[in-house]
Subunit: 279 residues, 2 copies
């Protein structure tokens, strides 16, 4: 389809390494086109890529965000700039790109053996979200699940226990968030507080006789604070055969985040996740 | 060695299933002897086992703890009773069994592929420990590491970041705990705040250029709150080939905890861990 309109990815902080890996791969696969904002000159392919170079960090970010505001770009991708700089620019009031009350990160964990997909939120941005924040974080993740083709996602509000216990703050928060969604039904099935094993293992849910709707088959895991989420995505990255990618949602367009230490497969998975989330 | 003195395990809440699995296995392997406290009559082996049956829950616990106070029992093991009941009895002042300021749980994660052993604390008892509690929890775990034969354990005080950040409570606490141990050197190497990937993956530590003493080779992981620890031990139990056992320490004798849903290998690993910790 030569006239198909492709997503245009605005990259703040593109490097030659990024062009030679991610850009090359994405163009070959016909995934998208690129607007690159760089500090240094880059050798770029003749088609599908525009480049503006010689920019300082703030300008790379500002120009990339401007391309979104002007609808030349479809989504953002972080290159060599600080996450903080890009998020601050996205949140600037005059840019009008804020959509949810909270920007949050959703990690997608694709398990290699079973092919199972787990969405995990928020392991990266919100340190100690309030109940209101957690409601927004949960809604953000439900929207990502819908974009991924999961029509009625099963959402587990994780705690260390599966029974409401007022002494355990994560359990009390999960209870409140679950109650909110009960009163405001969304296109999702929501259980909480629920423990990690019951949310992810059918066997554990059966042995423990868990009465809820999720019996090891959660699609979305909502963690109570950044720490637990961070531990989880790192244990999956390093101890479980899987590809763990990530996207920031809650703004008018998704933001693909990747770390310099990520391998190409992970960077491509983050780009694909962001593209899917942008459609 | 027919005259060797064996550890004597006092079991609060023994069942016939427990006798037919754990007791049978442990006797065959010559690991220990048993004092069983049960509500119902049990068929027990002729040697190595004493039984007191017909007790209610509180009496099963009280009798088991009494055997420790009177030094007939060497360590405790939880059977069908509530964890809460057994911990409360251990902590009773008049029993004089409290040793540390805090009772804490240490999970031992034995990875099947690499043979690597990770001690994780505290994923089960202390919900939101204070800095003082975390110092005691860390000391309890160092003692377990020593009993396991790790002469100078590397102890990682986990957070979602590896640089002190006053906005992230787990990072601030880890910084305080690390400073305490700097001023009070113990037979351990202690780093914190440190992220899970740097603590457990040499590759991640190298890529991130972490300047501390732990570069993926942590022996002990200290989590900031119960939730993160709980997620970690459950993800290891269900997604990583490993045997995850657990022991409660901080009292005069260790307490082996096992859950009815644990398989025999896990129950035996918990018993072995507790025996090792009691010596």
């Amino acid at each position: 389809m030569p006239n198909e309109i492709k997503p245009v990815v605005a990259v703040a902080g593109a490097t030659q390494g990024f062009v030679d890996s991610v850009v090359k791969d994405a163009l070959e696969q016909g995934l998208c086109e690129f607007l690159l904002y760089s500090d240094v000159p880059l050798e770029i392919p003749a088609t599908g890529v525009s480049l503006m170079s010689g920019l300082d960090e703030q300008s790379m970010v500002d120009q990339a965000v401007k391309s979104i505001v002007e609808k030349r770009g479809t989504l953002l991708m972080k290159g060599s700039v600080q996450t903080f700089t890009i998020l601050r620019a996205v949140l600037k009031k005059e840019n009008g790109l804020r959509k949810s009350t909270v920007l949050s990160q959703v990690s997608a964990i694709q398990l290699k053996e079973s092919g199972r997909l787990l969405l995990l939120t928020d392991p990266a941005l919100n340190i100690q979200p309030t109940v209101e924040d957690k409601i927004a974080i949960t809604q953000n993740a439900i929207e990502v699940a819908h974009k991924m083709g999961i029509e009625v996602p099963k959402v587990a509000l994780l705690s260390s226990v599966e029974v409401f216990n007022p002494n355990i703050p994560s359990s009390a928060d999960a209870h409140e968030v679950a109650t909110y969604f009960e009163n405001n039904p969304e296109a999702a099935i929501i259980d909480g507080p629920i423990s990690f094993d019951i949310a992810t293992s059918h066997e554990a849910a059966t042995i423990k006789g868990y009465p809820g709707s999720i019996k090891g088959d959660a699609d979305v895991l909502v963690v109570p604070t950044i720490d637990g989420g961070n531990f989880l995505y790192k244990v999956f990255s390093h101890f479980v055969p899987s590809i763990v990618s990530g996207v920031v949602v809650g703004a008018a367009v998704p933001i693909a985040l990747s770390s310099r230490s990520d391998d190409l497969a992970t960077k491509m998975a983050s780009l694909r996740l962001a593209i899917k989330t942008s459609l």
